[in-house]
Symmetry: C2
Subunit: 293 residues, 2 copies
Amino acid sequence: MSPTSATWIAADWGTTHLRVWAMSSSGTVLAQATSDDGMGRLTRDGFAPALDRLTADWPRVPVIACGMVGSRQGWVEAAYAAVPCPPLADDLTAAGDRTHIIPGLKQTAPADVMRGEETQVAGFLALNPGWDGVICLPGTHTKWAHVSAGEVVSFQTAMTGDLFAAITGHTVLRHSTAAGWDDAGFLLGVDEALSHPERLATRLFSLRAEGLLNALPDATARARLSGLLIGAELAATRAYWLGQQIAVIGAGTLAGLYVAALGAQAAPATQVNADRATLAGLTAAHRRWKDRP
Amino acid sequence: MSPTSATWIAADWGTTHLRVWAMSSSGTVLAQATSDDGMGRLTRDGFAPALDRLTADWPRVPVIACGMVGSRQGWVEAAYAAVPCPPLADDLTAAGDRTHIIPGLKQTAPADVMRGEETQVAGFLALNPGWDGVICLPGTHTKWAHVSAGEVVSFQTAMTGDLFAAITGHTVLRHSTAAGWDDAGFLLGVDEALSHPERLATRLFSLRAEGLLNALPDATARARLSGLLIGAELAATRAYWLGQQIAVIGAGTLAGLYVAALGAQAAPATQVNADRATLAGLTAAHRRWKDRP
């Protein structure tokens, strides 16, 4: 398999990275490449050269892209589609001479936005036709999407990963949560937050005090903090996941934590490979773009 | 009034600052000085020179100190007294040849600690003998102390100020909460958090989305974030303040926000000058130290 026979390029273009796949007409991945040219470090006229650099050895074929590349600070703004709607909008937004960007989704009340995750939702639905339930997409900003009859009915975002990084990096808890992990501590934190979400504000400082008074290990404090924050997120999204079929789309450790936390609440969730969902979503978008009237 | 007649020195020695007052035998402030030589920037053998530098023109009289100077990373560790107990311990901890440090307080379950605030509580009680109720001490780490019959019965800490700084400085909300203020936004945030504390995790990202979709002004987002966090703190400490007599010890804006938030919950609070409480507490400690058997 060689990228010379690629007929289109799939691109996942987020804030920190650009990832591209050279695709055959039958949907096979022929080659793959990644760079640090995320939206965050590019000016508007830097996107086309960044794409050309990374795909210089590949045929100059159409590109289907998703993610922050379509934000106001991105290459070209791809206006949000409003839920309820299918995860893939009918029209893609053109950028440069060969790139087509998948729009994100917005929700009016409560106000919310996503860019990139809609493509994973579309990919998951392409792989699981007719699936209804709730899709959790863990990340810096974790998304919860209620999916029914092929549409995103509503969604919610919790900035749990962002909070965890800010608290462990920039508050007094940085002295008590440096490194390590403790599964039991994590599940205790989840349980504390879900049992008494209203106590979160005082639970946090307790981790510091337990370190000072009871020599609570950093690994336990770190895991319990993660559990408290993910538990607070589960408390906020309970109406989404309770009694629903749940899929968690994500790679590795973080998605595993959500599956474990939900499992402890007797809410079994299926873990789904994120790259596979992204590629399936970009492939679905490419097919519709190719077959457009 | 000249510092030459000072008979002792009161010192409030926290993480970021050292503040000293030259005191007459009758309790009058004769002079005052402040430096940046807080505990955070001093090594163990830097405390005595920092104190001598700042009081070089004053008589070399005994010093009564409170705050982080007595922490494990401070000059000499002043072991915590365990609540329930009076805010001022019987024994002060000696440091150098003339300094006496007031120990902090600890609580075993839930684990909690304070250093410095116990002196303000003691000062408030010295100024208001026989007072029972709840004392709120706003700050980076806000303390709530339940006081009865001259003792601190129990206390709780919420790291609300620390969280606000980390979130506005180091998460995606830094783009939406740069500056400004909006009183109505603050009270809305307080009400949202107290009505549904379990929704906090998703309310936070909503501030960002409302900025993107509805052009929510930064000033409103900043005030609402503050309201959400102080509201979450009031939810966590409700058992403390509900139906109690409340005193808020603190200077200026931050203490005023707590008074406003409590007032909106039909919980009127009295605002008390923090410096006055600190000085009254150090004076009470000095009197007991001078009169020790």
